[in-house]
């Protein structure tokens, strides 16, 4: 079956094993006793976001028990309003965003005391406009993105100093057009996604030199068709999200070869057991499964829900937040 807008027959280039990936995600959710799982215990909130968003993109969010997930999420909320990565751990901005995103997927943002969450986040903005990850003061543009994305989903972005937030992000802009984690930090696709996403949400993409950054980003595509995160590094499926979403937000995605990237992502699947890995024939995990599927969504792979490149949530979820439908 050829999809006219995609331009060629899907049979030619391998297929996305949707059923296998759904099974894989559901099995990971249940498997809490392997060493791998325990070692990742502290970031289960992120894992929930990766797994559940992938299920939603594959049209299978209803395979999980929403109430169970939501009540577990709420037990991870602390007095301060922030959320921890799992029960027992300390709160951190990283897990606060994932918690809010998962609630948005289930259309259950109303279980939140929005002021409480907003207070936690606004309390983390520093004098120079940057954001700390938690009370211990680590500063990184990842946290700027998280704060801005989270407050925007909660429709209260005006609670932070937007102007200073923008100027801090711009202080992390490099001469190659990219962004680093702190001023002077090397450009890295992950940081670029965070900075471009934050600027996009704050209506400030005019500060980005789209041609300069676009060229840097499109040169992440290597011979195998995969994308790396910075020059002279190996390709990795997770960059299919970070590089791709950045390119889409600045309208330069046509500068890469989309077909080759689709093939690379599909080659990273474990067709027997489900899941997607960082590179072909490596071990799979939920993280790369999410980024692979999200990347395919951005590449308009047929059968997937569209994902929003800035909020990293399905487009219908974002539209529901802003237009109530």
């Amino acid at each position: 079956m050829a999809d006219a807008s995609f331009g060629f027959s899907t049979l030619q280039m391998g297929e996305l094993a949707i059923g296998k990936h759904v099974q894989y995600i559901l099995s990971v959710e249940k498997k809490k006793d392997s060493f791998e799982s325990v070692v990742m215990d502290h970031l289960r909130m992120n894992g929930a976001y990766w797994g559940l968003t992938t299920l939603d993109l594959l049209g299978k969010l209803d395979s999980v028990n929403a109430d169970e997930v939501i009540s577990w999420i709420m037990t991870c909320q602390h007095e301060s309003g922030g959320f921890s990565g799992n029960i027992g751990h300390d709160p951190h901005i990283l897990y606060t965003l994932s918690a809010v995103q998962v609630l948005a997927l289930f259309n259950k943002l109303d279980v939140l005391d929005i002021d409480k969450v907003a207070t936690y986040i606004t309390g983390l903005q520093n004098e120079d406009g940057s954001f700390s990850g938690d009370m211990w003061g680590e500063v990184d543009t990842r946290f700027s993105y998280i704060a801005i994305c989270c407050l925007s989903i909660l429709r209260c972005l005006d609670k932070i100093n937007v102007e200073k937030a923008v100027s801090y992000i711009l202080s992390c802009k490099n001469l190659d057009g990219g962004f680093g984690c702190t001023p002077g930090g090397e450009s890295h696709a992950g940081q670029i996604f965070c900075c471009v996403g934050a600027l996009a949400i704050m209506g400030s993409l005019h500060h980005v030199d789209k041609d300069l950054l676009g060229w840097w980003l499109c040169e992440r595509q290597v011979k195998s068709g995969g994308l790396n995160g910075r020059p002279e590094k190996l390709p990795d499926v997770c960059y299919s999200w970070w590089v791709l979403s950045s390119l889409i937000m600045i309208d330069r995605v046509h500068w890469i070869d989309k077909e080759k990237l689709v093939k690379f992502i599909l080659d990273c699947q474990d067709l027997e057991n489900g899941g997607i890995s960082d590179r072909p024939d490596d071990a799979v995990d939920v993280f790369h499964t999410y980024f692979g599927v999200a990347g395919l969504s951005l590449l308009e792979y047929p059968g997937l829900k569209a994902i929003d490149p800035a909020y990293a949530l399905p487009v219908n979820v974002v539209n529901r937040i802003f237009f109530g439908r």
């Binding site: 392997s34 070692v39 960082d278 308009e300 109530g324």
Partner: protein, 695 residues
């Protein structure tokens, strides 16, 4: 999570894994009980070290250790020696964690936190960093930490610059070192540190240095972006310049309101206006702020108080723009007047890089107004524009006719004081061009061709108006070669090719005239008959050269491959625009048109609007998602009151402020009856939709 080979789990592996997991879980449970009960005994703290040794990513354990340290520091019996010893313990735990995972954010931050307390030896840190950077010269955590330590030690930028040089000489393929070099060098240049006063003395050595990297292995990207930065440093003047204006200096502009003939006036400078005002456009070479009635003054007979409202032509909330416009109201009676515009005679115009505009300039033009006859105006407007080949006739120019595209020599701006200083720039470019031609004679490489193309265009722009058309042809050939040599990035080269093509077509009166037509429909009479610039069937994927096209009122870009119309907002005089048969993918891609207040006729038929599930201009348009409707974060302004239009919110925000009379949208998947009725609701001034007259 990265780089582990995929293998089927063997039963003995699974058993071992479960055992390890149980051990870790037991440790964790014990740790949590110490943490939640705030127990910081030696035994408890050691347990956390064991936990972090196995799992340095367990962030709560790092938090706990900080609490333990602070608890200890607050005890009355702690003395400087034991403080140092406690902190040294922390550093040991970090080092052991980093050995496990040298990319652990938690470990690196903990080290910074300890160092910030001020009781630890910093020299040891540099040695530690050397070890890490030898193991992995691209570890950005190490480079960031190095920056932190250098600041603590007050190490000079010059010393750090030398360090990057050493790293690069060890291995040219070190993007991280080149990046750090760019940060340090630009800081030294900006503060005009000793030895870094003049770019022209510093850059030649850098060019030599980067050549070694690029020419050693042209396929290695490490030097490419540094090289591009050097080019930018060579070409870009710090201070903003006025590049182009409309009306142009010395022109005779006729403003018409009715169907009478222009007589002796050129259709190139005859403007139809139904709004009682005409625009004055300022086009700078980079985005600037601070263009207002104090920094830009007008002297003319009919605007006594001299006040004009200047608007930046930017998308979203920006107060900065490369192009600024103001509308000058003209009286309703016939008029002949000269207008003088003075730019930057008082300070205030400033680039986004923080450099002041410092070339005060003045340009003047003559305005002739012919009065408005309201009735005939309405009739003419209702006639439809049909973008058919037979409706256009080539324009035959009079020989002395001035065509306002030679903006550079018509502007009365003297950039003379730059010209002697700018010799180093053209010399540097000429040298680079020579080097890359030599490289290409030895090997056919992508970066060679791309860099040469960029150098030639930069050199061309700098030598204007002495540039030659041959350069354009050579550059177009280079991009054609690149499309074949590097098909993965084919569409990047195609976009660049389109931009060069447009520069070529607009660089001289002769080439421009080939694309100038007049619209002649036997049935209707278009007011004043403006020139229609026809740039169709040219495989254009992108448009540019706007600084040369500010005078255009009617533009035919149909039958190209345009997926973007970025920059088109500069063409403030546009009243009729043909974009049929292109590759526009979404309503949001039309955003630049929102700034075209004079636009009355728009053809976007046979595009791809509605075909794509992913919108690549979703964050480059005015919308609530990017807090860019109205003043931004005020959410009340974003509400669409008519519920039926919520499904068409992109069209709502896009079209509500346009005053179109005619719209063609057939041939787009989105254009079903429901969508068309929504459009009619959104645009009450619309008279014709897809050829059908609306009532």
């Amino acid at each position: 999570m990265h780089g582990r080979p995929r293998k089927a789990p063997k039963p003995e592996d699974e058993a071992a894994s479960t055992a390890k997991a149980q051990k870790l879980r037991a440790l964790q449970t014990q740790f949590f009980s110490f943490h939640h009960d705030q127990i910081y005994t030696k035994e408890a703290v050691e347990l956390s070290a064991k936990l972090l040794e196995i799992n340095p990513e367990s962030y709560t354990a790092w938090n706990y250790r900080k609490l333990a340290v602070e608890h200890y520091l607050s005890q009355p019996e702690c003395d400087p020696d034991s403080v140092k010893s406690v902190l040294d313990d922390e550093l040991r735990v970090v080092e052991s964690a980093l050995r496990q995972n040298f990319k652990s954010y938690g470990a690196w931050h903990h080290r910074k936190w300890v160092l910030s307390k001020g009781h630890s030896s910093i020299n040891h840190e540099l040695r530690l960093l050397d070890k890490f950077q030898k193991a992995d010269s691209r570890n950005f955590h190490a480079w960031n930490y190095r920056r932190f330590v250098a600041e603590l030690m007050n190490r000079s930028e010059q010393d750090e610059l030398k360090y990057t040089e050493d790293m690069i000489y060890t291995n040219f393929s070190n993007y991280s070192a080149w990046h750090n070099r760019s940060v340090l060098l630009s800081a030294l240049l900006e503060k005009k540190a000793e030895g870094f006063l003049l770019k022209e003395n510093v850059l030649p050595e850098e060019y030599e240095f980067i050549h070694q990297a690029i020419f050693t292995d042209p396929d290695d990207q490490s030097g490419w972006f540094y090289n591009l930065w050097l080019l930018d440093q060579t070409v870009t003047t710090d201070s903003p310049l006025l590049v182009s204006t409309w009306p142009t200096c010395g022109s005779d502009v006729l403003i018409m309101g009715d169907g009478c003939q222009s007589g002796s006036f050129s259709p190139f400078t005859t403007l139809l206006s139904d709004s009682g005002s005409f625009p004055i456009i300022l086009y700078f070479n980079q985005p600037v702020e601070g263009v207002n009635s104090s920094t830009v003054t007008i002297e003319c007979g009919f605007n006594k108080n001299g006040y004009l409202h200047w608007e930046p032509l930017s998308v979203s909330n920006s107060q900065a723009a490369q192009v600024w416009v103001a509308h000058l109201k003209f009286p309703t009676s016939e008029l002949d007047s000269s207008v003088e515009v003075s730019v930057g005679h008082s300070k205030g115009i400033i680039s986004t890089r923080g450099v002041h505009y410092c070339h005060p300039s003045t340009f003047s033009f003559n305005v002739h107004v012919q009065p408005v006859e309201r009735d005939s105006f309405q009739v003419s407007v209702a006639e439809s524009i049909l973008w058919r080949e037979e409706n256009f006739k080539v324009y035959r120019a009079q020989s002395e006719e001035s065509i306002p595209i030679a903006y550079f020599d018509q502007l009365c701006i003297k950039n003379g004081h730059e010209s002697t200083a700018s010799n180093w720039r053209t010399e540097a470019l000429a040298k680079e061009i020579e080097c890359f031609r030599e490289l290409l004679s030895l090997m056919d490489c992508k970066i060679g061709k791309l860099t040469l193309a960029r150098l030639l265009m930069a050199y061309n722009a700098m030598s204007f108006p002495f540039a030659t058309k041959l350069v354009h042809s050579e550059v177009l050939e280079l991009y054609n070669d690149l499309m074949k040599l590097d098909p993965t990035h084919h569409r990047y080269y195609k976009d660049e090719h389109s931009l060069v093509l447009l520069q070529k077509m607009t660089c001289s009166k002769e080439s421009l005239l080939q694309h100038c037509f007049q619209y002649k429909d036997s049935g209707s009479s278009v007011i004043g008959n403006p020139i229609c610039l026809r740039l169709n069937n040219l495989s254009l994927s992108r448009i540019g050269a706007f600084e040369k096209l500010l005078w255009v009122q009617m533009l035919d870009l149909s039958h190209n491959e345009l997926q973007s119309i970025e920059g088109l907002e500069a063409m403030q005089l546009l009243s009729c625009l043909g974009l049929g048969n292109n590759k526009l993918r979404s309503v949001t891609a039309l955003e630049p048109l929102r700034k075209l207040k004079s636009l009355r006729v728009l053809d976007i038929s046979y595009n791809q609007i509605g075909d794509h599930s992913i919108d690549t201009t979703r964050y480059l348009c005015s919308s609530p998602l990017s807090h860019s409707v109205g003043t931004g974060v005020n959410k009340d302004e974003t509400v669409i009151s008519d519920a039926a239009l919520v499904n068409y919110w992109e069209a709502f925000y896009m079209f509500k402020d346009l005053n179109l009379n005619q719209l063609d949208i057939v041939g787009n998947t989105i254009a079903d009856e429901k969508f068309k009725s929504a459009l009619v609701k959104i645009m009450p001034t619309l008279k014709r939709l897809d050829g059908k007259v609306l009532d």
